[in-house]
Assembly symmetry: C2
Homo-oligomer: 300 residues x 2
């Protein structure tokens, strides 16, 4: 019997420990030693925080193909480092200008802007370095496919492009379709990459990969809808970061265009569609089923 | 007979054309389309500028192993994109705060800080995406080795770590050894990666790789020494960027500690050491020989 609470807790614990091992002097050394201040800022931006949902998706997708969680950890770490770097850069004064993240000072508040920019760059770079490590997967062809997948999901046509569209859209005037595209890139693309990377680790065939891609796109939409709803309904205390910022910034979200109840209805529909894609996989997909349900029900 | 002028011009032309092709809507698309503003900023930060010395080193190192220049182009592009992203981020107000680069406004001046941060992130990410492309090399094992090499050279123990040390050292007090370490990381690590990536494309054995690594480390030192000397002797007009900034910022360079003549003597010694490493390779290494000589003699 699948136990979601145990799965998410075990994954978070494994990710935390592995991140702490990776973000240390020896693994970060290159032609020279990584500076202590840079290592500390990288750790500040990635340790002790977050639910590690993206590594969870990697291992849950891999589990469909009988890949043990431990063998999906390195790929999960790479995705998590990308996620963490994006938060470090997004929090900068030149971007969202957030002082608080997970209830703690953001990296540029704890250090300075230059260190935060560099720590983000170094996390981004190390993510790809991790995928090149044979510990990630013994087959070089699989590892390079993971590199391609992560680059596509996190680059100009994915996460970074979505952040650019979000900034451009702050002036308002985005249609619901344009909002969906922006969110599919900003948040959805990395969720999509996580699921697909799990499938690639498992040697998924084209049909399974395509089904899981559809699941991931729907799960990403559910995640973002829930996030937009939480920005309206939650308090800064439960979220550990500022809320109500979207409206204050005039950001166009689907809650603004559909209304709160409309957004909740759309969220339920999206979760059901995501669940229906997994029909053929049986109990091995219980992890992915639980996670998309969790996306819709989370309170922070 | 090897012709350096023809080699550097041909390489720059090939890189410029290939960058223009890569930094376009189709190659940059992912789960969504790359935003036009992001593409333009990425192009602004990488097209029409630079001598493309790093792709030149990739192809010159590959040439030792009879790899045609065209087959070293994609790996060279990846290194060049890393170099360009680092300039975009280094120019930011939070870092070196430069308004001028190659005689044109820097990306954050032409766009804004947020766009420059994102354009840098997207260039960094696309560099790794390029290495994953089979056009880079038909063998996945070689491509993943290139990913590892580029990540090591450009990450926390390489280029980014060097930039961090440079910022930390602005307060002064670095010893000549500490300056050398900083420079070996900030500038040297990517030069080292370029040469090693060319060698990896050519299937170099451990001995050849080790010899070329030594060449690259010496060439990197020569490059940085020449740069420090130019910062003192050149004018903003010939450089296309502000000069005299190191002294104004109180940056510790080897010119400051060795004096101008001492630095010139050290530069000549370093070039000769670099040349001597190439003895066993014969005329196929004429490109690498010419380039390290060029490093020492360039006027901008």
């Amino acid at each position: 019997m699948y136990d979601f609470s145990a799965d998410i807790a075990d994954c978070a614990k494994a990710v935390e420990a592995a991140l702490a091992r990776q973000l240390d002097a020896a693994p970060l050394s290159g032609p020279g030693p990584a500076p202590a201040r840079l290592i500390q800022a990288m750790r500040h931006g990635s340790l002790e925080g977050g639910k590690r949902l993206r590594p969870l998706l990697v291992r849950q997708a891999a589990a469909i193909f009988n890949i043990p969680a431990a063998q999906a950890l390195t790929a999960g770490l790479a995705v998590e480092m990308i996620h963490c770097y994006s938060l470090v850069h997004d929090d900068l004064p030149a971007m969202d200008n957030d002082d608080l993240r997970r209830g703690r000072p953001t990296v540029h508040k704890a250090y300075d802007d230059a260190t935060a920019i560099l720590a983000g760059d170094a996390l981004l770079t190390h993510a790809f370095g991790l995928l090149a490590d044979p510990a990630c997967h013994p087959d070089a062809a699989v590892r390079i496919a993971l590199v391609a997948e992560l680059a596509t999901g996190s680059g100009a046509g994915g996460m970074v492009g979505g952040q650019m569209r979000d900034i451009e859209g702050e002036a308002g005037g985005l249609s619901p379709d344009e909002i969906s595209t922006m969110q599919a890139m900003k948040t959805g693309a990395l969720i999509r990459a996580s699921v697909r990377m799990g499938a690639l680790l498992g040697g998924a065939d084209a049909r399974a990969l395509s089904v899981l891609t559809l699941y991931a796109e729907l799960a990403g939409r559910a995640f973002q809808l829930a996030d937009d709803i939480l920005d309206v309904t939650a308090t800064a205390e439960t979220m550990g970061k500022a809320t109500g910022k979207d409206a204050a910034l005039g950001k166009q979200t689907l809650v603004a265009t559909l209304g709160l109840e409309g957004a909740r209805t759309r969220l339920n529909q999206t979760v059901n569609e995501a669940l229906s894609t997994l029909r053929t996989f049986g109990p091995k997909a219980d992890g992915l089923r639980a996670t998309v349900r969790y996306f819709a029900s989370r309170e922070n």
